[in-house]
């Protein structure tokens, strides 16, 4: 736990350092390329790891104004703006950063909004290091992607600023057209469709299976990474725009999709139901007590608030030793949630190395700071126990030849079995597509993984039916879901024009 030993700086200390740099930088304007490249990355202030293990509050505290301005000065304002090519929704990144450097934060958020919604969310959860920041000239010049301009942190800063100052206004819509659109699901893809379609004056009804809206942002991603008040504020904006929200409504069960069109008078439907079908490993012992899918563990903890043991009616195991299988964001979220629920030891078990982990770099770093122990090149063989999980037997792996995805394939080392004692196992190896709608909607074409097939306009094989987000892409990201939502909304608006 070496990372736990170096001194943890407070937000105030970061701010003070930034203020001093800013004064110095302002005194030598205009800055040369070299000046800009020599400004150090502004670190993200965070809660002290020892303290945050005990609470569910947000870990990353956000830049201060001084930090944001200093970080913005690191941007070289490249003419060709390679970062934009790395952004799935093509935000004009250099332009919004320029506004921050000039101190006009409201302008900055407006630039982002030309192409994107949900910036307070994306600024927090986008994997920037494989998107915009991967292409950043600063990172390239310094030969380290972690030294790129912190585009995501800046996005978060201006989005938070707008929300905290009460400047979010429900966008003005066109006059009502009396045409009705059904949006199924309430994750990021659906939120964007609802907003963009409503703005054209159509009435929109959002159907959500759960009792709360927000999709994975609500039931999956924990509070300590994405405060629920942020998700709520996005939903409140939809309500203020006049979007009707129906929770506790499973399309395909409560009402068939075709009935929405044929009987209930909806002229178009968008399906944004996400990738809600947990994968298991099909190993011995997987149904023992104490073995959870990450979806179940996180839903209990987040949506049902089981972390608040005094208040919540939904129980969750009092785990002492927890093994989390997987290396993505879902695995990190599960591990860090287990820490907060009071587990003494939490292990990540991943069959490749840390380099191949799909989780955001920041989440891996945060997990380590919080004391999560990483076992890489290890994969479970079976879970041991009579009725309750008592241990997990694993095999060691090494990396072999690259597979189709270009990642080196993990190969098991025969005879390398070893046993770890655990009382809880969380399987976080991914999600497949939930078949509830496709099973009850003949004519809706899916691929062999159950993902709905759409064309470049996000239209499905059925007339008037569009789809986007994880149900189309397989478990992907918030920004990609949002991007598809934009496309689908444009198509629906065209259909109804």
């Amino acid at each position: 736990m070496s990372s736990m030993s170096h001194k943890h700086l407070t937000q105030q200390e970061f701010d003070e350092a930034a203020r001093i740099s800013l004064d110095a930088l302002n005194s030598c304007q205009p800055l040369s390329l070299k000046d800009r490249l020599s400004i150090p990355v502004q670190e993200m202030p965070s809660q002290d790891p020892i303290i945050r293990r005990e609470n569910t509050k947000e870990v990353a505290l956000g830049y201060t104004e001084n930090q944001a301005k200093v970080e913005a000065l690191r941007c070289l304002q490249c003419k060709n703006a390679p970062c934009i090519n790395g952004c799935p929704v093509r935000i004009d990144i250099p332009r919004f950063i320029k506004e921050i450097a000039d101190g006009d934060f409201q302008k900055a958020i407006e630039v982002i909004k030309e192409n994107s919604l949900l910036s307070a969310v994306c600024g927090r959860v986008c994997p920037q290091e494989v998107q915009c920041q991967l292409y950043c000239t600063v990172g390239k010049s310094l030969k380290n992607v972690l030294k790129s301009v912190s585009i995501g942190r800046l996005e978060r800063f201006v989005a938070d600023r707008e929300r905290e100052e009460g400047n979010i206004k429900a966008p003005q819509g066109k006059p009502d057209t009396s045409k009705r659109v059904a949006v199924v699901g309430s994750g990021p893809a659906s939120i964007v469709v609802a907003a963009d379609v409503r703005r054209e004056g159509h009435s929109v009804t959002l159907f959500e299976a759960f009792h709360k809206t927000g999709g994975v942002m609500t039931y999956g991603i924990p509070e300590f990474r994405l405060p629920k008040s942020i998700v709520k504020s996005e939903i409140d904006t939809l309500k203020a725009m006049g979007v009707e929200i129906k929770t506790n409504f499973v399309v395909g069960k409560t009402r068939k999709l075709t009935d929405l069109i044929e009987k209930d008078g909806y002229e178009a439907v968008f399906i944004g139901t996400g990738a809600g079908l947990p994968k298991f490993m099909n190993i011995e012992g997987e149904n023992l007590v104490g073995v959870y899918s990450a979806n179940e563990f996180l839903t209990r903890a987040n949506l049902m608030r089981a972390y608040d043991r005094g208040m919540a009616a939904t129980p969750i195991a009092m785990s002492k030793k927890v093994a989390v299988v997987g290396g993505g964001n879902v695995a990190m979220d599960s591990a860090r949630t287990a820490v907060r629920l009071g587990a003494e030891e939490v292990y990540i078990i991943y069959r490749r190395t840390e380099n191949e982990m799909p989780a955001r770099v920041e989440e891996i770093a945060h997990a380590k700071e919080e004391g999560v122990i990483f076992h890489t090149l290890v994969n479970p063989k079976r879970i041991l126990g009579k009725l309750q999980a008592e241990a997990i037997e694993c095999l060691r792996y090494e990396l072999g030849e690259p597979d189709d995805s270009g990642r080196r394939r993990p190969v098991e080392i025969p005879g390398s079995e070893f046993v770890m004692n655990v009382d809880t196992v969380i399987i976080a190896i991914g999600n497949e597509s939930n078949p509830l709608i496709s099973q009850t909607t003949p004519g809706l074409k899916c691929n062999k993984w159950g993902n709905i097939i759409v064309d470049e306009n996000c239209k499905t094989s059925m007339d008037k039916v569009y789809a986007g987000g994880d149900i189309v892409l397989g478990a992907a990201t918030v920004i990609l879901a949002m991007g598809q939502g934009r496309i689908a909304a444009r198509s629906i608006n065209k259909l109804l024009a």
């Binding site: 409560t254 939904t314 195991a317 009725l387």
Partner: protein, 279 residues
């Protein structure tokens, strides 16, 4: 929506509620269930079978036994009050066809989910016999309804206070020998279903059981409801709730059902104390 139109106490701890839920009422079939919760923040979500429905009135009927915090709070609601969250119909409807001779075995509160199935089986032209089992006379529900429906009704109680002093597997075995049903539908506590399946196994009579696992979403998203059926993992909420009783790993299912027993009984006792203080 979701208002309680009618509330009846059927036995000491068992209540019936008729709820106004027009969409669910119009869509539901025998064998399906709902999930409800009583507030948006800290409440838990519990599944309950739809015991009856009346699409003209737009209502569904649920029958529940007070066994924990949520069912206790539910039983404290009065007519006119609303269930905050009500989701359904979920699960697959029972496969109803003319099998010939159908034997329904219902234990305790399991009579409630058995009733619409028995009704639908009868309507499909089957000969119908029903065995109802309970610990004692006071705990028997739906006796007259079932009697009206069935060609023969056998009641047994553990203590002999009503009908035969026996557990349901005794008459079940006798009927397997003498009547030779084409299909048995056993619904009740897990342990009862397990022994019913064991009883019919040597006769090779198809035995359907309806599983009542712990659930959260009820849409296949969490896997918390999973059971082992013939070495395969199945999700009760979307693949069930009915399965071939001869293939279900009941020991595993019962262990999973009891996973939170300690935590739950703490919550129940706290809740009981709170509500008696309020009174």
């Amino acid at each position: 929506m979701n208002a309680i139109l009618n509330k009846k106490q059927l036995s000491q701890n068992v209540y019936l509620m008729e709820l106004y839920a027009p969409i669910i009422s119009g869509e539901c079939r025998a064998g399906q269930f709902i999930i409800l919760s009583l507030n948006n923040e800290f409440a838990e979500r519990i599944p309950l079978t739809i015991a009856d429905s009346n699409p003209e009135k737009g209502t569904i009927t649920i029958i529940f036994q007070v066994v924990g915090k949520t069912t206790l709070e539910l039983s404290n609601l009065s007519e006119g009050e609303k269930i905050v969250n009500l989701l359904g119909p979920l699960g697959n409807p029972t496969h109803i066809e003319k099998f010939g001779k159908v034997l329904c075995v219902a234990g305790g509160i399991g009579v409630a989910p058995s009733y619409p199935i028995a009704k639908a089986m009868k309507k499909a032209g089957n000969e119908l016999k029903v065995i109802i089992g309970a610990r004692s006379k006071e705990l028997i529900i739906y006796e007259s309804e079932m009697r009206e429906l069935s060609d023969e009704l056998i009641v047994c109680t553990d203590d002999g206070s009503c009908g035969r002093k026996a557990i349901v597997t005794e008459p079940l075995k006798e009927l397997c020998i003498s009547w030779k049903p084409d299909i048995v539908v056993a619904i009740g506590p897990a342990i009862m279903m397990k022994f019913c399946a064991e009883t019919t196994r040597p006769f090779g009579i198809t035995t359907l059981v309806s599983l009542n696992t712990i659930m959260i979403d009820g849409t296949g998203m969490c896997g918390g409801c999973r059971v082992t059926v013939g070495n395969e993992t199945k999700f009760v909420c979307v693949d069930g709730p009915e399965f071939d009783g001869h293939k279900v790993d009941f020991d595993n299912m019962m262990a999973r059902l009891g996973a939170y027993k300690d935590l739950e009984s703490q919550a129940y006792h706290k809740c009981k104390l709170d509500s008696s203080l309020k009174k």
